[in-house]
């Protein structure tokens, strides 16, 4: 396997932004978990808590010309890409003013202006769509990249292997970022991933590839930086496998009986990317506890406001049922 090992250290300001993003995601998901348990969330949701370093580190390298194709575990990457928190919350609550006007819902968070592309119900098709974004970027000579976030489960879809090959054959500016959280729904990767190593699939398709610890923001930041820079400079596609623990179930309401007793508590204790980042910021980058606590408080206020606005928002206009099926309605 080709190792990606160019030094790629985040700046102090970059760390402040990363912490803010990761903390925002964690607070959002914990709040959503509580709201769901209280019966106030009208739809199915898949929480991103535990995987925050992945989205935050990838998005730290993306600009306005770049595309991010999301997974159904969509809230974290949407927040990291900078989508409006209130519009995200309204979309999850299927209310007017949601990112997709209440017609997409939690897995399909999409913001065309930010080139944040909503996920696919059947999982995996984002890999192919990302090849298309990359083709358009190259056609317009935009110096951009397309990042396809994929779960470990989606990597067993044929379309993902096809897309690895196509991206390599066409030398597209794509990064396949696999968030391996150990489970596809209720089935462990040790059962479902032959070879138990998704990073090993990259070289088979002629792509540089690496596996990183998703609990270590610095490691993900470096690996994503190298892969994105490679794509941006015309070096073609890469694969990054990010080993990121999942702190909640596949979806909310999942009793998670398939996990070993104490597994989640142990992951939270030993592999929490947020507490690890916080500690390193204090130990190595001279952030004070008070400074970080102030960020936490500020984020708490934003989250409260987003949930209050979503809860108070009206349902979508009934006319939306028949709107936007087509862009051109002539003859219909």
């Amino acid at each position: 396997m080709t190792e990606l090992s160019t030094p790629y250290a985040p700046s102090r300001e970059g760390l402040r932004g990363a912490y803010r993003t990761m903390r925002r995601i964690r607070c959002f998901e914990e709040r959503l978990h509580a709201e769901f348990a209280a019966g106030r969330v009208p739809s199915s949701v898949h929480l991103y808590a535990g995987q925050e370093a992945s989205a935050a580190a990838i998005c730290a390298h993306l600009g306005a010309q770049d595309y991010l194709h999301n997974t159904h575990r969509a809230h974290g990457p949407a927040i990291a890409r900078g989508a409006d928190l209130i519009a995200i919350t309204k979309e999850i609550y299927l209310r007017a003013g949601g990112l997709c006007q209440g017609k997409g819902g939690s897995p399909h968070l999409h913001d065309a202006r930010l080139r944040l592309i909503g996920a696919n119900g059947g999982v995996g098709s984002g890999a192919a769509l990302a090849c298309g974004s990359a083709l358009a970027i190259r056609h317009r000579q935009e110096n951009g990249v397309a990042v396809a976030l994929l779960g470990d489960g989606a990597c067993n879809q044929g379309v993902v292997s096809e897309s690895f090959n196509l991206a390599s054959v066409w030398k597209l500016p794509v990064v396949f970022a696999i968030e391996n959280n150990g489970y596809a729904e209720a089935t462990a990767t040790s059962y479902a991933i032959a070879g138990d190593n998704l990073a090993a699939r990259g070289p088979a398709f002629g792509m540089p590839s690496t596996r990183v610890d998703g609990a270590d923001y610095f490691a993900v930041h470096e690996a994503a930086g190298v892969a994105i820079e490679c794509a941006r400079s015309g070096g073609g596609p890469s694969l990054v496998e990010i080993m990121a623990p999942r702190f909640y179930g596949h979806y909310e309401g999942d009793a998670q009986k398939y996990r070993a007793p104490g597994e989640v508590a142990e992951l939270r204790r030993t592999r929490d990317c947020l507490t690890r980042l916080r500690q390193r910021m204090i130990d190595e980058y001279q952030f004070s506890t008070a400074e970080i606590d102030a960020m936490d408080a500020e984020i708490g206020v934003d989250i409260d406001r987003a949930f209050a606005e979503a809860a108070a928002a009206p349902p979508p206009d009934p006319a939306l049922l028949m709107r936007d099926i087509y862009a051109d309605r002539s003859g219909l």
Partner: protein, 335 residues
Amino acid sequence: MSVKSYRAAIREALEHEMQRDPDVVLIGQDLAGGAGGGGEDDAWGGPMAVTKGLVGKFGRERVLDTPVSEAASIGAAVGAAAAGLRPVAELMFCDFIGVCCDQILNQAAKYRYTFGGQDQVPLTIRTTIGAGQQLGSQHSQALYPLFSYFPGLKVVVPATAYDAKGLLATAIRDNDPVIFCEHRLLYRLREDVPDESYTIPFGEARIVEEGGDVTVVALSRMVHVAAEAVRALREDGIDCDLIDPRTTTPLDTDTIFDSVEATGRLVIVDEAGPRCGTASDIAAIVAEEMFNALRAPIRRVTPPYAPVPAAPELERSYVPDASRIIAAVRSVMER
């Protein structure tokens, strides 16, 4: 104006649209052929030789040969369209939708709607349909009703070279995903076609024949088979309206309604199957909207509810022919 084949008319539309708009790119298997080999470039010019010569004019950056990966390549075409290109993807046989359903039916069709109208997907998928070449059950179907099931897609079934050229130009300029169904037995059909570029609006049926006794609606190659039946019936004193809807989404119900209002009798000829097909769809719409105008039961002339067999003797009895259409028209005239 000059005599052109259906195949040449399609190629001309592709060439004109590629000249007109630099964002039009072609994506598919062997559109040029010869990539990476030691022999000729543009060796095939498409599996049906429709795209021959285009790689020489526009280069491999705009004529993109793909691996045998319909899911990835159709998916990439959807992503490219949503990102602002105007791709024309080729799905060699419509039967192969089996390996890229998600990309067409979930991604392309629903992209705009699911995301609340933020984007448009100006994608054309050219595909081929039809029996008659002894290619068997997985290379011979006419699956356009499947596409018309899905809101968000537009579906074109051209029967003539003139219509193929004008409707393909419309498809490529349209801002929604369009499935363009070329019947392989029509590729050699020749007729006068303008040399210059032109468009034909979607949702406008062509009235092929005007009669007044019976309304016959036929699609794609069945238009020609029905025309043969209509000529034979005229010699027996039965005059039919023959209508070719040309697009199944949008569907020009007004033209069909106007004709049925006058005739009170409807026969629908479809190479797609008898269950959940276009003939059933049109029959249901007319029965619901025009029941009081009908003077006889609606008759559908379709293949049997069976896969397409390969042996020519079996295949001939699968595809509707003029004699079955004549019998159907006579049966509605008896009521």
